[in-house]
Symmetry: C2
Subunit: 423 residues, 2 copies
């Protein structure tokens, strides 16, 4: 399948992240900071509330779903509504398609805005955020550092998509700067802990699966059902304070090391847009239990990269990898999440776990790239890094590459502000 | 301070859980299951939406806050509003107080309902749920079982209120039955895990602190500020699947073992009502870091008990302890939670951690009471238990005992339904 052509010319470039094939959903902010749901096409956005208000699109619900500053109401309608709206938008934006928008100058002026003229907000209200640990190379590397090569993978790892509950209140959209966290720190030679700014601030390159429709408490779902429940995917940076984590995480897991900020891309790329890029999870060393077995390919072939830019300096690409490195798919993770009867709903966000390839330049966290700080990296401008410095901006990018077109997510960027001083 | 007398006679009994001194907040359900905020007084409830609608109470906000089926809007107003409404309700319900309610039969008929005539709903929408591990006897007992007496307490335990993010979507109100969870299980002699119903279903006797007003992302709070942010307390049963937990929890903490159900009492007892029962956390082995030091007593003297009733049989009290057994207060836990810059808000729920006294009959989990199943308990009817059986109902109760009055929480009860069958 090649490029689908749009009458929005900028969408037809092989370099555009947002061809007609993509149509990702987001929320843009007006001058007063009020958000409205939209889709991206080329270098423009289309306001879905305006189209819905004019009766040009209809998600199938009695009540409007695009008159709120988040996508949750639309997401909650489920897969039939998602397909209906996508097909209608395809028709409205296609070259030679329905001219209800292309042929109506007033409507075009009311509904279409240049992306460069607006800021993007959080695309959805995060219900709850769960983070997984499903990248094998990452788990192997981290395990090797902390437990030695022989015991690198925990015994459960090849059987369970290991995950933990994260914090939803600090999931922020790309472009939201945040303070370096404070926390309890204790070095190997300290007798007691101290409290202060994290010294080992790190990134985690992840994809986030966005749950659309949910299940009821007590009702598990199959992997196929879980796949149906996923509305789309975002880029996700699960910022991590490695020194806080090292001291706090036994026995109940990471807590303050992870709750200060998680950044996502402004655009949610739909499962439909990613359909041509489906691929299989790897061969299994142990057969998975039946509730985790996939009826088909549930991963995606998405190129990913991480860029690091010191304050007021050019960026350096510090990692390139691919989402297809995961051992477990998001559908498997979601099925596992609901297997105990846990209720999942619209806006729940599942972090894939850090995505690392085999090679050093394919690793998705500085912890791995610098081997816990032992091997600093040198940026293009000559500066070195073990972990992040104040003023650093980290940007994630993702691209699923088709024949003559690219499916992108926009940027997932955040800048580190100095730690807040305690009184 | 003794009993405050009310013209609602049933509130003046020394046995009532709901004297005028208490005035806990809840949400009752009408015949159609629609919830309305209310307070308890004796054996009655008072509908706060009706009082607000008639202009008899006013929380100080321009807009009504009691016309919604949850307390979050009121909680979010903060401590001044909480004090204003409580003082007004005290006056309206006191013997010899303002007669706007007592002297108006129509209003009494519209606003006051017998508790026995209604079911209670969830008192607030749970924003996010965090569970702690702050009971020293519990941590000691569990540590001894799994790591031996010498290494029972993790090295961080005396310095950090250890906590982990829980799951809000399955926090349910007392009286909500739920299914025994399924999950991955692996016994010590199994080579690979199996999937099926949990065999070691347990309780955790906890108190829950309900956050009212919040902080902004990036802004830490002091322990004194954290105490101000807490709206009130509930009883909380953090149901736990010990066998699922044992296999999954390394390295990132409990997940499916805890996300299937957490039960809270229908009544949120306010900090003001508990004020006379404040007491100190214990002497410290290590001085706490400054950000965790308490400016005054932040724990509460609240008697707690756990009752277990097999299907259609009488209950047996299996544990009696007191909230004053905690090593860390909820205010300390909340200050720790926000110390990294984590944003907290109205409806966030903090589980105290399992509350166990020193003696066997004071332990707050079957894991401890039966020492991981090695020493079954015998119930009054002659049945024995190591962990919970299908049909068992567990009920938590709490009482702060003043001079001639009792502050209660209602019951925190849940019944175990059989596990859902997988296809």
């Amino acid at each position: 399948m090649g490029l689908k052509k749009s009458w929005v010319e900028s969408a037809n470039s092989a370099e555009s992240q947002f061809p007609l094939n993509n149509l990702p959903y987001g929320v843009y902010l007006d001058e007063d900071g009020v958000g409205s749901p939209c889709v991206a096409i080329g270098d423009m956005i289309v306001d879905l509330g305006v189209l819905e208000g004019e009766g040009v699109i209809n998600a199938g619900d009695e009540d409007p779903v695009f008159d709120v500053p988040f996508l949750n109401e639309f997401m909650d309608l489920g897969t039939d509504a998602w397909k209906t709206v996508r097909a209608r938008l395809m028709d409205l934006l296609a070259e030679g398609g329905d001219d209800a928008l292309s042929g109506n100058e007033d409507l075009r002026n009311a509904a279409m805005i240049a992306q460069s003229d607006v800021d993007m907000g959080m695309p959805f209200v995060v219900g709850e955020y769960t983070d997984f640990y499903a990248g094998r190379n990452h788990a192997q590397n981290v395990g090797e550092m902390f437990r030695g090569k022989e015991n690198a993978l925990p015994p459960n790892w090849l059987h369970i998509p290991i995950g933990y509950n994260g914090r939803a209140s600090t999931v922020v959209v790309s472009g939201t700067d945040f303070h370096r966290p404070n926390g309890q720190l204790k070095g190997p030679n300290d007798t007691v802990p101290s409290f202060g700014p994290c010294k080992r601030l790190d990134i985690e390159l992840e994809m986030g699966a966005v749950v659309g429709s949910g299940n009821k408490m007590g009702q598990p779902v199959s992997v196929a059902e879980a796949d149906e429940m996923i509305f789309g995917y975002v880029l996700l940076n699960d910022w991590s304070a490695r020194d806080i984590q090292a001291w706090e995480y036994q026995p109940l897991g990471p807590f303050q090391a992870k709750v200060f900020a998680t950044t996502i891309s402004p655009w949610v790329v739909t499962k439909e847009a990613l359909e041509p890029f489906r691929c299989n999870t790897p061969e299994r060393e142990f057969e998975l239990l039946p509730y985790l077995q996939e009826p088909g390919p549930m991963l995606y072939n998405i190129d990913l990269e991480v860029a690091l830019a010191p304050e007021a300096k050019d960026e350096t690409i510090i990692s390139r990898t691919n989402y297809n490195e995961m051992y477990y798919s998001s559908a498997q993770q979601l099925a596992h999440h609901a297997s105990s009867g846990c209720e999942m709903g619209a806006g729940d966000l599942l972090g894939s776990g850090t995505i690392s390839g085999v090679e050093k330049h394919q690793r998705g966290a500085l912890l791995e790239i610098t081997w816990a700080g032992a091997n600093p990296i040198t940026l293009d401008g000559g500066e070195t890094r073990t972990f992040l410095e104040d003023g650093d901006t980290v940007t994630l990018r993702g691209a699923a590459k088709g024949d003559g077109f690219t499916i992108g997510f926009g940027e997932c960027a955040g800048k580190i502000l100095p730690a807040v001083k305690f009184p």
